[in-house]
Assembly symmetry: C2
């Protein structure tokens, strides 16, 4: 089922990026970059990620000239166990909090929940925030970076950043026009170093349902943008869409994981990943491109591998999800 | 901010409880009990928790005679890292999925999101599910039970169970009438074996805001029921409400953590905890009591300690949250 919105708008965004992201091609679109090291003055990577979320939340409140009490709800999630970065960052804000988790698809999940609340006239101002931190994620999901564990080319590189978006019922030039909630898709893939392959079928399922529900051809959109499939996952998606659904989206298609870094120069394997990957690209670059009318209709499809190290060690395969949300320029 | 609902109803619930819960005073209210051991025929505690969620989801679909395609969205969360029990259970259902996490307050978070969607006429049928598993939680958060680590009396005992509730816009005798989303409250408590003390101020903040927003005295409700504060946390809450807010709720007040077990006979320390604690009590016993009109107006306040072992080892204090949702009998 795809939901159509008539009264949901993007009011503001805020982004903070780390060093690798600041050295990538989208540098000029970020509000702020923290490039000295990955600690940002904190004593651990986990606390550094909390700082990213705390700072980006304070930043969007300032950019949108809102007091905490004027925000109806903040919806936040991240990769850390117990979504700890969100939990601990939100201690500092006097705003009702809903914690969410859909791995790297978290920003789209939050935007859909917020859009539903606003379209339904339940709330007027909803903040959605997310973060990821490269070395915190590596430590939790794989091995501490210091171990120097080798990785294959299909691996992705977790983006360090914090990102926030404010959705409201106040008319702006950028409207949220529809959303399609993803289903959990598991094609029995077992390669934890190839998340693009794990997530591509989930993205394909959601894009197909979105276009079918709305009876739209892919060229309705100027851009269909998945979350973090990376260079190999991107190819798999195009191939899978053709094979499984007889749909060619190659003319409109791109992937945030391949856009956030300079893949020729930076040592990031198949590209970026993590909830902050699609959130930084979408809330910084895409938001600006929509404001400048470079794109007029964009379908964002952040993708998430619902990867549990515990269950992977118990020989379970890897489930994935992708949510779609469309943004359009209001003339 | 407290939201009033006019068109949200409870259509059905389903509950599956483990052995300790089946030996407690609420046994007769559970739809099903799994009492042979804590594996339920699976090869690990984590897979056993997935089974709980999978089975309770299938059960509520059967009890409410719904096909998967008739459900608009399933909102689920649990205690496991990456909310893995929810992610992996939902592979088996062809239903759009939103993953949530607010620790033991997860069921109320899900109910509020679902109620907002239905009140706003975005969706018509929303399933909310949650689970917890005693030995899976002990292993992840503390020590494997086999280590025999001693615990103080203020510790609580994670409930093993799966619970589901179906909210709809179709009129039934039990209406969801309002909700108050919690804020993250951290009073610098550092005792991981006294979660009642950690969560009581969060519950107090939410109950106070709820009553103040709606200009209600505590006696508007037949019952104000917190999630899992346990016997000591319950006392702290009553004391805190009086001291901080000059409110006496003692006549209406109880706590699910003290209701699910026989605290005199069962070796469960200060009582039950875990997302399934309040969900089993509310969806089994309270739901039945409302159907029988033993209670007519109930304020549910599931409580969650947003406890991260990683950040606790880094000397961070323990944040908490509580969401309130009111259920009333329609005459």
């Amino acid at each position: 089922m795809t939901t159509i919105y008539k009264n949901v708008y993007v009011k503001e965004t805020a982004t903070i990026a780390g060093e690798y992201e600041a050295n990538g091609p989208l540098k000029k679109y970020f509000d702020r970059t923290y490039t000295k090291d990955l600690y940002f003055g904190e004593t651990s990577f986990e606390k550094a990620e909390i700082k990213l979320l705390r700072d980006v939340t304070a930043l969007i409140l300032r950019k949108s000239r809102l007091k905490e009490k004027e925000v109806d709800v903040i919806i936040s999630g991240d990769l850390s166990n117990q979504i700890a970065a969100s939990d601990y960052a939100m201690r500092d804000f006097d705003i009702p909090f809903l914690g969410i988790y859909n791995a790297c698809a978290t920003s789209s999940e939050g935007m859909i929940i917020a859009a539903n609340f606003i379209e339904g006239k339940i709330y007027k101002k909803c903040l959605v925030t997310t973060s990821s931190h490269n070395t915190a994620a590596e430590k939790q999901y794989r091995n501490p970076t210091e171990y120097g564990t080798p990785k294959p080319d299909t691996a992705t590189f977790t983006v360090t950043g914090g990102a926030a978006i404010l959705l409201t019922n106040e008319k702006t030039n950028i409207k949220i026009t529809s959303s399609t909630i993803g289903k959990v898709i598991d094609k029995n893939t077992m390669d934890v170093n190839h998340m693009g392959a794990v997530m591509a079928p989930a993205a394909a399922d959601t894009i197909y349902r979105h276009l079918t529900d709305l009876k739209r051809a892919p060229d309705y959109y100027d851009l269909i943008l998945t979350g973090d499939l990376g260079i190999y996952g991107k190819e798999i998606l195009l191939d899978y869409m053709k094979t499984a659904y007889n749909l060619d989206i190659s003319k409109q298609y791109n992937d945030c994981g391949t856009m956030i870094y300079d893949l020729k120069k930076q040592p990031v394997f198949a590209g970026g990943s993590g909830p902050a990957c699609s959130a930084l690209v979408n809330f910084a670059y895409i938001y600006q491109a929509l404001k400048e009318k470079k794109f007029k209709r964009v379908l964002l499809v952040p993708t998430g591998a619902l990867f549990s190290p515990t269950l992977f060690f118990q020989k379970e395969s890897l489930p994935a999800i992708a949510h779609a949300i469309s943004l359009e320029v209001v003339e």
